[in-house]
Amino acid sequence: MASRRAPGFALSLGITLAVTGAMIVVPLLALIRSASAISFDDFINLTMSPRALASYRLSFGAAAVAAVVNALFGLVTAWVLVRYRFPGRALVDALVDLPFALPTAVAGLALCALYAKTGPLGAPLARAGLDVAFTPIGVVVALTFIGLPFVVRTLQPVLEQLDVGVEEAAALLGASRRQIFARVVLPALLPAWLTGFTLALARGIGEYGSVVFIAGNMPLSTEVTPLLIVTRLEQYDVAGATALALVMLAASFALLLAGNLLQRWGARRLGIA
């Protein structure tokens, strides 16, 4: 067991196992128990119905698009925050965390009010022929908002630790700025970048509060999976809700595992392991 002679192994193990056991494992077992009452054929029918498939397409698709947007702009934002000094930088830096702190329902209400056809942003966009609220684009906007801090916050520390000397060395060897970025900076950032992307994706897939207000909630087109779970529950269809919840749970666990593996990979690549 523990070879280091740090104290408190039994105590911390006890607390951690008791709490994770009672608060996480037992509820998960309850879900699995409920799901095990569903026959395999029913499970396939419930989770592969056209409506469920359409909701996955929206939840996963919009979360992926939002995560890509966040990955690109998050990289730029993190770069700017780490490498440049400009007035208001501290303010901008603090603001990045706003989606963490702002309740999702408030974000949903605000975004919906802004992007509706009568809203201050929605009206000019509608005149330009682009409907945002109540379309999949609206879902992407909401998920972009809530996923924004993940990429920035996972990239920032790595960027800060990135040795400027390496870039200078590359420049001395004749690399252009683009080459330095593509061959030196990006490979070093890649694991953190992917981790941030995975986190934003995982958060986006399960998001409910900010999305219900701005999504059109139309079955088969603008209905996200969490809403479908709620709908099933309200139709007294516990089996349907449980089956979908299990699919979502599997997806988030898989993403989490991927994120942890990426982090470990990153640590190894940077020789910190």
Partner: protein, 269 residues
């Protein structure tokens, strides 16, 4: 150029919604804002929300410290799995989180019959809200502490042991001051989430006005009552909490960063 892109992106996606909340809230004037917040049901929602946070945060601190200590200081079989399990509430959909507790404590749930036999009520009552909020905020403190504990290593603690300090004393006098800002950061984040959780709490709340409505739910209720002034007032109050959170977080970060900067100065004189 890059700064411009970053600022434009953040402006559109962050500042505009933030400003919108306050514009909508104060459209009817400051008096209306206060009046809306002083409606009895809204006052109760604020009290309930703060109560939930006050209950959840201490348990999160104890758990977070224990889990971070365990994961940073020891290696044992199944550690990777445990880390993923601790992280799980972070990526689980809030709706699924709420559903978990309904399946557990609802009338037809695993413990439903047991609770009913003893006349205990968890779901659609305050305890259910507390438990669900606890679930969704569980990983925050541990997640913030873990990297700090790992990065700082255990040399200072070992120094304290060699000087004769016991485990608890070392923990309180050496470890805790060392990680206090990370701990503060974790508390602030879990507090923010506890105050603002909507999806999960919505599933287990029952929406009884003046009893089981937290602030985000109260905002939704007011929205559905066409009471937009009330709704935006609650929303802006929550936003104010969020901004305070950010300020505290910034302070915490500032204190965390100073020693780090010094260390890097030393390495590159």
């Amino acid at each position: 150029m890059l700064i411009g892109i970053a600022l434009a992106f953040l402006g559109i996606f962050l500042l505009v919604p933030l400003g919108a909340v306050f514009v909508f809230a104060f459209r009817a004037g400051v008096g209306a804002w206060f009046a809306a917040l002083l409606q009895p049901d809204t006052v109760h929602a604020i009290q309930l929300t703060l109560f939930v946070a006050v209950v959840v945060i201490p348990v999160n601190v104890v758990f977070g410290v224990a889990a971070a200590w365990l994961l940073a200081r020891f290696s044992f079989p199944g550690k990777g799995l445990l880390l993923s399990v601790v992280d799980l509430p972070f990526s689980v959909s809030p709706i699924v989180a709420g559903l978990l507790f309904v399946l557990l404590f609802g009338r037809g749930g695993v413990f439903g019959a047991l609770l009913e036999a003893h006349g205990l009520r968890l779901i659609y009552a305050v305890p259910g809200i507390v438990l669900t909020t606890w679930f969704v905020t569980l990983p925050f403190v541990a997640r913030e502490l873990l990297p700090v504990l790992q990065a700082q290593g255990c040399a200072e603690e070992e120094a304290a042991y060699t000087l004769g300090a016991g485990a608890w004393r070392t923990f309180f006098v050496v470890t805790l001051p060392k990680v206090r800002w990370a701990l503060c950061y974790g508390v602030v984040l879990s507090n923010a989430r506890a105050l603002g959780e909507f999806g999960a709490v919505s599933v287990v709340s029952g929406h009884i006005r003046g009893v089981t409505s937290t602030m985000p739910l109260q905002a939704e209720i007011l929205y559905n009552q066409y009471d937009f002034v009330g709704c935006w007032s609650v929303a802006s109050a929550l936003t104010l909490f969020a901004l305070i959170t950010l300020v505290i977080k910034k302070v915490a970060e500032h204190h965390c960063e100073r020693p780090r900067l010094r260390r890097s100065e030393r390495q590159h004189p």
